[in-house]
């Protein structure tokens, strides 16, 4: 009965990313038995997903990176690429006043990373790259803020690593902080770094752009889209993980009007109204195609 019913309604599924792709990086800290269990569990999840998706009318993906993967699995399916929207918010306070509030030097370069504490987000690699960059440009006042929630055991491991490297003054962790604080930290920052190994979209990229931060990204999720489809924009640098330290070391603040104008024009594509229209357009097309 359910099956018959579903044939009549058009079904659209949003694919964020493939479970097994993210799992490749996330299971490395588990014990062997748990690793095997999780691996097969997610293989079953993906297989079920595959079966369900074969029955759906259309697919919705958020980035070109995921779309390219989906096309390989479902070459004949209708795929709609509609990214996440961004609600533009202005910083309530100036960069200077926020830095005074958080006790940060006005000339310090602040790097920000927002990500859940999971192995696929590349926190360890980011800390290593940041340390190398400190020794390259010898600017020991540079700071890296890691913001996120998630696995507390991983946070402890990261804290231990920071301590063992003697980077307590340079790297700070903001664990489970409120949204207001996240927004304030973005407003006082200079550069946003995404060091993930695997992503679907990574929404904080848009939030960082909203605060006019320069982007240093690894080529996954929306980072891949920027590298291959928005390469003409100068507000980002997409590099492989082994070259991340070079980009961090070479970063210079470019707070000019042209930079801001470029970001403003880019973010116009992600306005809520525009994305809303695209979603409604997708619904209309699906209804028209499957009438």
């Amino acid at each position: 009965m359910l099956f018959k019913y579903f044939i009549k309604s058009s079904i659209i599924v949003t694919i964020h990313n493939y479970a097994t792709d993210e799992l490749k990086y996330n299971i490395i800290y588990y014990s062997n038995i748990k690793k095997i269990f999780l691996y097969y569990y997610y293989r079953i999840v993906d297989a079920l997903y595959y079966l369900i998706i074969n029955r759906v009318s259309a697919l919705h993906v958020l980035s070109i990176y995921v779309k390219n993967k989906v096309i390989k699995y479902y070459p004949k399916k209708e795929i709609y690429l509609i990214p996440y929207p961004l609600e533009r918010e202005k910083c309530n306070a100036t960069k200077m006043s926020l830095r005074i509030k958080y006790g940060i030097g006005l000339d310090d370069i602040i790097f920000i990373n927002i990500a859940n504490f999971k192995p696929n987000k590349g926190h360890f690699m980011l800390i290593d790259s940041f340390e190398k960059a400190l020794y390259i440009n010898k600017n020991y006042d540079n700071k890296l803020f890691l913001i996120g929630s998630g696995n507390s055991k991983l946070v402890l491991k990261i804290l231990r690593l920071i301590k063992s490297k003697g980077l307590d003054n340079n790297i700070k962790i903001y664990y489970n902080v409120e949204r207001i604080i996240v927004n304030e930290l973005l407003c006082l920052g200079d550069c946003y770094i995404m060091a993930s190994y695997e992503e679907g979209f990574h929404l904080p990229i848009l939030e960082a752009l909203n605060s006019y931060l320069f982007l240093i990204l690894t080529p996954t999720g929306f980072g891949y889209d920027l590298k291959y489809y928005y390469s003409s924009y100068s507000f980002h640098k997409v590099v492989d993980s082994h070259n991340l330290h070079v980009s961090i070391a070479n970063f210079k603040i470019s707070d000019n009007d042209k930079f801001k104008q470029e970001i403003d024009s880019f973010l116009m594509n992600f306005s809520e109204i525009k994305i809303c229209q695209q979603i409604l357009g997708m619904y209309k097309k699906v209804l028209f195609l499957y009438k």
Partner: protein, 73 residues
């Protein structure tokens, strides 16, 4: 008078404000609901009980489109 198109968006945990995709999706759904051509209804599934309840609801109302949008699965 034209008949409005009924769309069910199936999602979960929309009130978890710390998670950015949920926050964004919530704002987007609000905007989508204001459309005149479509009736957008949101089904939040957070438990097995929700799932059963939602399935019955969908079966009764027979929407034109079911959009499964779970930010992470």
């Amino acid at each position: 008078m034209f008949k409005k198109i009924l769309v069910y968006i199936v999602t979960y945990n929309l009130n978890k404000t710390s998670f950015v995709p949920q926050k964004t999706l919530r704002a987007l759904l609000k905007l989508l609901s204001m459309n005149e051509l479509f009736i957008i209804k949101i089904l939040e599934i957070n438990s097995l009980f929700d799932y059963i309840k939602s399935t019955i609801k969908i079966l009764k109302e027979r929407p034109n489109i079911i959009h499964v949008w779970a930010p992470n699965y």
